[in-house]
Amino acid sequence: MTLEIVSSVLVIAGAIFAVIGGIGIVRLPDFFCRIHGAGITDTLGAGLILTGLMFLSPHWIVAVKLLAILVLLWTTSPTATHALANAALEAGLKPNVDETEEAPSSL
C-alpha cells in the first residue's frame, strides 16, 4: 500500500513536469529556448515516471530493466538535444540573446 502511494506520487509528479515541459515548448520565445522546455520532459518528467514504476516492480529484475531504460534515456537525450541545437546553429539560426561573452579561462 505504501509502495503504491509512493509510486503514484512519483508518477504524477513526473506527469506534471512532462506537461510543464510541453507548456514551455509553446510559451518560450525562440527555438533555442524551447529546447530547454523539452529538456524538462526528457529528464525529470521521464525520470520521475520511471522511478515511480520501479516501486511497483513485481520482481527486482523488472526494476533493473527500468533503471537501464532511465540510463539509456539520460545518456541519449542530451546527445540528441545537442545534435538538434547544433544543426540549427550550423543552418544559420541565431539565438535571440542580449550579449555574447567570453569566459575568463580558468584552470
Binding site: 513536469f17 510543464i20 515541459g21 507548456i23 514551455g24 510559451r27 518560450l28 520565445p29 525562440d30 533555442f32 529556448c33 529546447i35 530547454h36 522546455g37 529538456g39 524538462i40 529528464t43 525529470l44 525520470g47 520482481h59 529484475i61 533493473v64 530493466k65 537501464a68 539520460w74 545518456t75 537525450s77 542530451p78 546527445t79 538535444t81 545537442h82 541545437a85 547544433n86 540549427a88 546553429l89 539565438p95 535571440n96 540573446v97 542580449d98 550579449e99 555574447t100 561573452e101 567570453e102 569566459a103 579561462s105 580558468s106 584552470l107
Partner: protein
C-alpha cells in the same frame, strides 16, 4: 586484454540482467555465443580501448552522478517554475567556456551534463571550448563558475 575481459564481463552481466535466465542451459549457451560474437566484432572494429570501454571512469562517476542528479532536479524545478510563471522571467544568453577535461570522453561527459541540466544546452563544441545557450542569468553564471567543469575533470582522474 584487460579491456576484452571487461567487455566480456559487462556484456555477460547485461545479458543475464535483461534475460533473467540462470537455469536454462540452451539459453545460457546462446547468450554466451552472442557475447562471444559481439566481442569478436568489437575487436575486429578495434573499438575495445579506453574510449570504447572507459573502465577507468566508473569509480569517478560513482561520486559524480549523485551530485549531477541533485543539480538536474534543482535546475528542473527552477526552469519549470519560470515556465509556469505569468511574466516568463527568462533572459537567454550565449556563453563560451573552456572545458578543462583532458580527454574527449571527459569533454563529452561535461557537454552532456550541461545539456542534461535544464536551463543550459551545449550548442557548439570546437577544440576545448564549448558554446552554451543559457535560459537565465543564474544558469549562465552556474556554468561560468566552473564547478561542474572541475568535477568532471576529477571523474577522468589524473594519469
Amino acid at each position: 586484454m584487460t579491456y576484452t575481459a571487461g567487455l566480456v564481463t559487462i556484456l555477460a552481466a547485461v545479458w543475464l540482467l535483461l534475460s533473467g535466465y540462470l537455469d536454462k542451459p540452451l539459453l545460457l549457451g546462446l547468450g554466451a555465443a552472442s557475447v562471444a560474437f559481439v566481442v569478436f566484432i568489437s575487436l575486429r572494429m578495434r573499438i575495445v580501448d579506453d574510449e570504447g570501454l572507459p573502465i577507468q571512469l566508473p569509480a569517478g562517476l560513482a561520486r559524480y552522478l549523485p551530485w549531477l542528479v541533485v543539480e538536474i532536479v534543482k535546475a528542473n524545478v527552477d526552469v519549470a517554475l519560470r515556465i509556469v510563471r505569468p511574466g516568463l522571467p527568462i533572459r537567454p544568453r550565449v556563453i563560451r567556456v573552456r572545458a578543462g577535461q583532458r580527454t574527449d570522453v571527459g569533454r563529452v561527459i561535461y557537454a552532456n551534463s550541461i545539456t542534461l541540466t535544464p536551463g543550459t544546452v551545449t550548442i557548439d563544441t570546437e577544440g576545448d571550448h564549448i558554446t552554451v545557450h543559457a535560459l537565465t542569468e543564474e544558469a549562465a553564471e552556474g556554468v561560468l563558475a566552473g564547478d561542474m567543469d572541475r568535477r568532471v575533470a576529477r571523474v577522468e582522474g589524473r594519469g
